[in-house]
Amino acid sequence: MRDLGADASVDITDVVCPVTFVKTKIALEELDPGQTISIRMNDGEPVRNVPRSVKEEGHRILKLTDNRDGTYSLIVRKSADQA
């Protein structure tokens, strides 16, 4: 599910912890500071933990959308002070 408006997207519904976070981190690294990304994740463990990990990495969470198909999309703005 692409979120219109985000600069990039990544789907982590095909992996489990801890790869969910690794995949997220790699996707974020490919962005420029200030760009946004939509991260699609499964309900359960991923949506409980990935938003918090992203926050702890210093990025800004803009929105969490329930896709109503057992997945959620987290919209994140990459931290300005991380190249």
Binding site: V47, N49, P51, R52, K55, E56, I61, K63, L64, D66
Partner: protein, 288 residues
């Protein structure tokens, strides 16, 4: 040479099955040691032991195969290297702790600092039987608080800050107790479900949850010949002073009512949980 085993044991020297060999138990607080202390331990194990150390189930370190005639030298060299000898027998033992909020992202309380203070206050105190304190930083309970005679678990007493909330819904999903929901543009907390884990606070991107560190105490845990889970007795405690008064009350209770050779749990069951609860409530001035 006459050997006083009782005084040896108090000093943390435990007789091995091999005659005249002792395993030296060291004092470790909260599972934390400096590299310098570890170096001292390694040197002594090499010089006086057989070159190995044993890590105990409660974060202790023991140096086995110390010879009777070397005990005084070992004590002196340990002390010069900043390492103290531990205790065994009927007294307050090693205070264990997880890494807590100083290191772990999930931590609600500073377990290291608390373990040091607890150790300072109670370590080595003589009681009817061994007595263990364990400190764990949050509901994840990595340190298994309820296995201890007194267990202390960090919690977060939470408060929602409406003005800062973006209603993103992250906390609602982060909560594993289903204590949170969004209703009419508000986050509703079902207090009966909240277990003080602090996941909402840690996950909120807008810092719209205030989390006040708090202490969840358990009493009478055992994990040896008999196994029993420590019980809560009093509600979550908000400040360190009250927490210490409650712990004081538990230790005093054991010292007053315990029969030598009986663990705290047995004293509580013989005297009654209500009696313990009353003693703690009186001393700590907390009421359920």
């Amino acid at each position: 040479m006459a050997v006083d085993y009782a005084s040896l044991k108090k000093g943390g020297f435990m007789r091995q099955k091999q005659r005249d060999n002792f395993s030296v138990r060291l004092k470790v607080v909260g599972g934390s040691m400096t590299a310098e202390q570890l170096r001292t331990i390694a040197e002594i194990a090499q010089k006086y032991g057989d070159g190995h150390v044993h890590l105990t189930s409660r974060q202790g370190v023991e140096i086995p195969f110390i010879k009777l005639e070397d005990i005084e030298a070992v004590k002196a060299e340990l002390s010069a290297g900043g390492v103290s000898v531990g205790v065994c027998g009927p007294r307050v033992r090693t205070v264990t702790a997880c890494q807590g909020s100083a290191v772990c992202p999930s931590g609600c309380i500073d377990t290291y600092a608390l373990a040091l203070d607890i150790s300072e206050r109670y370590f080595g105190r003589e009681l009817p039987h061994k007595f263990k304190f364990g400190v764990t930083g949050c509901m994840n309970n990595c340190l298994k608080a309820e296995e201890n005679d007194v267990g202390i678990k960090g919690g977060c007493l939470i408060e929602w800050k409406r003005d800062d909330c973006a209603l993103c819904g992250v906390c609602v999903k982060a909560c594993r107790e289903k204590a949170l929901s969004v209703e009419d543009g508000e986050i509703k907390l079902d207090e009966g479900r909240c277990n003080y884990c602090g996941r909402c606070v840690k996950s909120c991107p807008a810092d719209a949850w205030h989390g006040e560190p708090a202490y969840i105490l358990s009493f009478g845990g055992l994990f040896g010949n008999k196994i029993a889970t420590g019980k809560a007795v009093i509600p979550i405690v908000l400040d360190r002073e009250t927490m210490f008064r409650a712990a004081d009350a538990a230790v005093d209770f054991f010292s007053r009512h315990g029969i030598p050779g009986e663990r705290f749990r047995s004293s509580i069951e013989r005297t009654g949980w209500d009696a313990l609860k009353a003693a703690i409530e009186e001393e700590a001035r907390v009421h359920a």
